[in-house]
C-alpha cells in the first residue's frame, strides 16, 4: 500500500551538488582556495623582488693568466692568494669602503669555458676586462678576440636592460719597465694596452667588413659573424675606444702582488688595486 502513495506529490529531487571534499561546505572550500591563491601571489612577488635586485654584480673577465682570480681574492679576503688557472667561476660578495656590497664574479678565461660569462651578463652592473699588461704585446690578437666577444655581448643586450659599464684593466702593471719616462706605472700600462687593443680590434673590424662570411649550420637567418665593433668616427678611420658606439670605456692600471695583505699595502703606501676601487666607487655614486 505504501507504494501506491502518490509519488508525484513529492517534489522532484533536484540533483544535489555534492561538495568536492566530503564534509566541507562550499564556503570553506572557497575560503581555502582564496588563501592558496594569496600565498601563490606572495611567493610570486617575492621571487620578482629578488630578481629585481639584480644588476649588482661586477664581472671579471679576460684572457687566461691575466690575474682575475688574484683580484677577486684581494677584494674578498684582503690578501692576495696564490692561484692557478681557474676551472669554474667564483662568485663572492665584497664590502666596498663606501659601505655598499657588491657581488664579484670571476669567470675563467680559457677559450673553451669563457662563454660562461653570458649567464651572468643579465646580472652585471659593471664589467672589468682584465689584461696582463706585461705580455699583451705578444698575445694581442687573442686578447682582442676575447674583447671582441665581450663587446659583441654588450651590444646585443636587449634595450630594456641597462648596459653595464666597461672598464679595461691593465693589470700586472708592476711588471712593466717604465724606462726613462716619469709617468707612473699605471699610465704606461694603460697606454700600452690601449694602443695594442685598438690596433688589433681595427684588424678584426676590417676583416669582417666587406667580406662574405660562411653561414653557420642550422637556421638560415642567424648571422655567424660578430658585430659589436661599430664606432661613430668617420668611415675608414681606425677603431678608437673613445668612438665606440656601445658605451663608455674606461681604463685603469693596477697590480696585485701575491702574498701581500692589506696591512702590508697600507704600510708601503701604495694600493695596487686603487684604480679599480676608485672606479667602483665612482660607479656606485
Amino acid at each position: 500500500m505504501d507504494d501506491s502513495l502518490p509519488q508525484e506529490a513529492t517534489p522532484e529531487a533536484t540533483p544535489e551538488v555534492l561538495p568536492l571534499v566530503a564534509g566541507t561546505s562550499t564556503q570553506t572550500l572557497a575560503f581555502g582556495s582564496f588563501v592558496l591563491a594569496l600565498t601563490i601571489l606572495c611567493a610570486f612577488l617575492f621571487s620578482r623582488r629578488r630578481s629585481r635586485s639584480r644588476g649588482n654584480a661586477l664581472l671579471l673577465v679576460g684572457p687566461p693568466d691575466s690575474g682575475k682570480t688574484a683580484i677577486l681574492s684581494t677584494l674578498a679576503y684582503n690578501q692576495t692568494l696564490p692561484s692557478h688557472t681557474s676551472l669554474q667561476t667564483n662568485a663572492t660578495v665584497v664590502a666596498l669602503p663606501s659601505a655598499t656590497t657588491l657581488r664579484v664574479v670571476d669567470v675563467p678565461g680559457h677559450p673553451r669555458i669563457r662563454d660562461q660569462f653570458l649567464e651572468h651578463m643579465g646580472d652585471a652592473k659593471a664589467i672589468a676586462f682584465v689584461v696582463d699588461a706585461s705580455t699583451v704585446s705578444r698575445n694581442g690578437a687573442a686578447v682582442a678576440e676575447h674583447l671582441h666577444h665581450i663587446l659583441h655581448a654588450i651590444t646585443s643586450l636587449p634595450p630594456s636592460q641597462p648596459a653595464p659599464a666597461l672598464l679595461i684593466l691593465a693589470h700586472k702593471a708592476d711588471l712593466l719597465k717604465t724606462g726613462t719616462s716619469s709617468s707612473t706605472l699605471a699610465d704606461v700600462a694603460v697606454s700600452r694596452v690601449r694602443t695594442i687593443l685598438e690596433r688589433e680590434l681595427e684588424k678584426r673590424r676590417e676583416s669582417q667588413s666587406g667580406g662574405v662570411g660562411v653561414e653557420g649550420l642550422g637556421e638560415e637567418g642567424e648571422r655567424s659573424d660578430m658585430g659589436g665593433l661599430d664606432h661613430s668616427g668617420p668611415a675608414g678611420s681606425p677603431f678608437k675606444f673613445a668612438d665606440w658606439e656601445g658605451g663608455e670605456v674606461d681604463f685603469a692600471g693596477t697590480w696585485a702582488k701575491v702574498g701581500e695583505t692589506k696591512e702590508d699595502e697600507k704600510q708601503s703606501g701604495t694600493d695596487g688595486l686603487e684604480g679599480l676601487t676608485e672606479w667602483l666607487d665612482q660607479l656606485s655614486r
Binding site: R50, S53, N56, A57, P64, D65, T69, S73, A76, Y77, N78, Q79, L81, P82, S83, H84, T85, S86, L87, Q88, T89, N90, A91, T92, V93, V94, A95, T101, L102, R103, D106, P108, H110, P111, R112, I113, D115, A141, A142, E145, K203, R204, E206, S207, G210, G211, V212, V214, E215, G216, L217, G218, S224, V258
Partner: protein
Amino acid sequence: MLDHCSISHKGGVVLWSRSFTPEASHIASSSASPVNSLIREALIEGRTAEEKYEKDGYAVKWTFVNDLELIFVVAYQRILQLTYVDDLLAALKALFIKLFEPFLATFVASLHALNSTKSASSVAGDTTTSWNFVKAFEGWDKVFDKLLKGFEDKAAQERKSRFRSTVHAVSADPSPPSDDLSTIPSESSVVPQDEQQIARNVQALKNRLRGRGGRRGGRGIARVESGSGRDSHPASDSESNKRKTKSKAQRKWGDEAPSEMDMASLDFSVDKPSGTDGHLSHDLQALVDEASLGTRTRDGMYEVKDWEFGTKEGEDDVIARALKSDGTTTKQTSGSLGALGSLFARLTGSKVLTQEDLKPVLEGMKQHLMKKNVAREIADKVCEGVGESLEGKKVGGFQTTSNAVRIALSSSLTRILTPKTSTDLLLSIRTKLSSPLPSTQQRIPYSITFVGVNGVGKSTNLSKVCFWLIQNGMRVLIAACDTFRSGAVEQLRVHVRNLSMLGVNGATDSKGRVELFEKGYGKDAAGIAKEAITYAKENDFDVVLIDTAGRMQDNEPLMRALAKLVAVNNPDKILFVGEALVGNEAVDQLTKFDRALRDFSSASGAGKGRGIDGMIVTKWDTVDDKVGAALSMTYVTGQPIIFVGCGQTYTDLRQLRVANVVQAILSD
C-alpha cells in the same frame, strides 16, 4: 723524490702548496707550472679519464674532491717510477678533509655567494673573522711531512726486501750466474710435469735475471725501482681501484705454444654453458628492437617495416628508456631505505651521488652516444670523465640523478667542441698578408694543405674553400700535388674553369683570380708544392691551396712523404679532411695522422713537429643528426673544426655551431 704538491680549489685559489726543489718552486708560480699545464690541457679539455699527465719531464697525478671542489695535484720527475703516489694522494685527501672540513666548507660557500641581499648580513659578520689562511692550515705542514716520510720509508723498505730476496735466490745457485736459459733444468731436479710448472719457472727466472741485472748495474736504482714498482703495484693499489691498474701484460707472440689457460678459452669445440641466464637474455634483447619489428601478412610472410621520414618520438627522456630496456641488469636499490629514502634525501638537499647511482645512468648515456655515431673509446672516456666530476657531489631539490648527469654531460660536450684557437681563417690570412715585410721584396702567400684518407672529399672541399676566398677578394693558386690518382689534375682543372666563370661583385668572371699549378703525374709532391709557392710569390697570389693524395693512415712511406711536404714547405695551416660518416675509424685515422706528421716532420730537423691544425668534416648532409663523428674528431686532436661540407656545389660550406651539435647529440 716529489717535485711539487698542491691543494687548490677548482675556482683557481691555491690553498696550500709545497715545492721540493728550487727549480720547481720557480716555475710553480708561472703559467708554465705543471699544475697550470695539467689544468689547461687535461682537465679543461675533458681528458680526466686518463691516469697520468706528462709534460716537460714532469709526470703529474691528481685527484678530485667534488663536493668541496678541491683538486689535489702531485708532480714528480717522469723518469722516476714512484709507486706510492696514488696512495699518497688518497691519504692526503682523506686527512685534509678530516682536519679542515668546517673551514673549507665556509670558504667554498664564500666563493659561491648567490644572493647578495641574503649574505649581506653574513658579510658584515664575517669582516670580524679575518680569513687567515696561514693560521688555518698551520698544522698541515707537519702532517704532510710525516705522511710523505712514512710512504717513502715504506717504499725504500720494499725495495730493500726485494733486493734481499733476489740476493738470496742468487746465492742459493751454486753455478756462476749466467743468462743461459738452458740452466733452468739444473735448478729443479724434478722434470716439470705440466705447463703451469714451466710457466712458473720461466717467471721465476725472469725475476732473478731482473734482480741480477740491477745488482750488477750497481747504480741501477731506476731499474730496480721499476721492477719493484711493477711487482708492488697490485698490492698497493687496493685503495685506488678507481683508477684501472694497467699492469703490463706480456705480449703474446704467435710463435709460442699456447698455455693451458689459452687452450681452455680458445676451445670452441664443446658447447659451454653461458655465464648467467640474465646475461644471455640481455643479449637477445639488445639484438632486436621490439618497436621496429615488421608485420606478418595473412600468408604468414614477415614483411619489413616501412621507412618513415621525420618521425618524432613522443618520449624525450632517453635515459629513462635506456634504463628500462636495461631492466634485467639494473642493480638492486641500494641503501637501507631504498627509493623512498633517496627521495627524502634528495628533497632535503643532502643526497650525495655515489658510483652505484651514476653507473647505470652513465651506461645509458654511453649507449646513446654510440648510437649517435660517436666512437666507442671516446664515448667511454667522456662518460668516465663526467662520472669522475660528479662523484661525491651533492644534488638537491627536485633534480634527479639523470638530470644532473645530463647537465654535466652537456657542459662537457660543449667544452670539448668549443674551439680553443680562433677559427677565423680570413683574419689570419689578412694578418699574415699585412704583416711588415722582411728584407725580401715579395710577400709570402698564405698556404693551406688538405690531407686525409682516400675518398673523403678533399678536392671538392678545396674548391669550395677556394670559392669562398675568391668571394672575399683573394687571389688563389691551387697546387695539384696529388700526382698519383688518375684524373686528379683534370678534376682540379675543371674546378678552376668553373670558378673562373663565376663572377664576383658584379664582374662577369673571375679570370685571373684563380689559377691551377700542376706538373703532371708521377712527380714528387713536396717539390711541386715548393715550386707552387714560389710561383705564387712571384705572381702576387694571396693564398695557395695544396691538394694532396689520399692515403691510409698506416701506410708509413706515404705518411713520410706527407711529412716531408710539410717539413719542406711549412704551410700555415694543415687541415685534415674527414667525413661525417666515419665511426670508430675516426680515432685511428686522426691519431695516426697527427702522430705521423709530428714525428716525421720533426725528425727531419725542422725543429718542433707540426701536427694537424684544424679539421673539415665533409658529407654532413648524409648524417641527419648522428653527428658524433665531430665529437670524436675534436676529442682526439683537440683542434677545432673549421668548416663543414654539406653538399656538392660551391656554396655548400658551413661553419660549425657548437650548441646545435651538442643538442643534436643529446636529443633523441
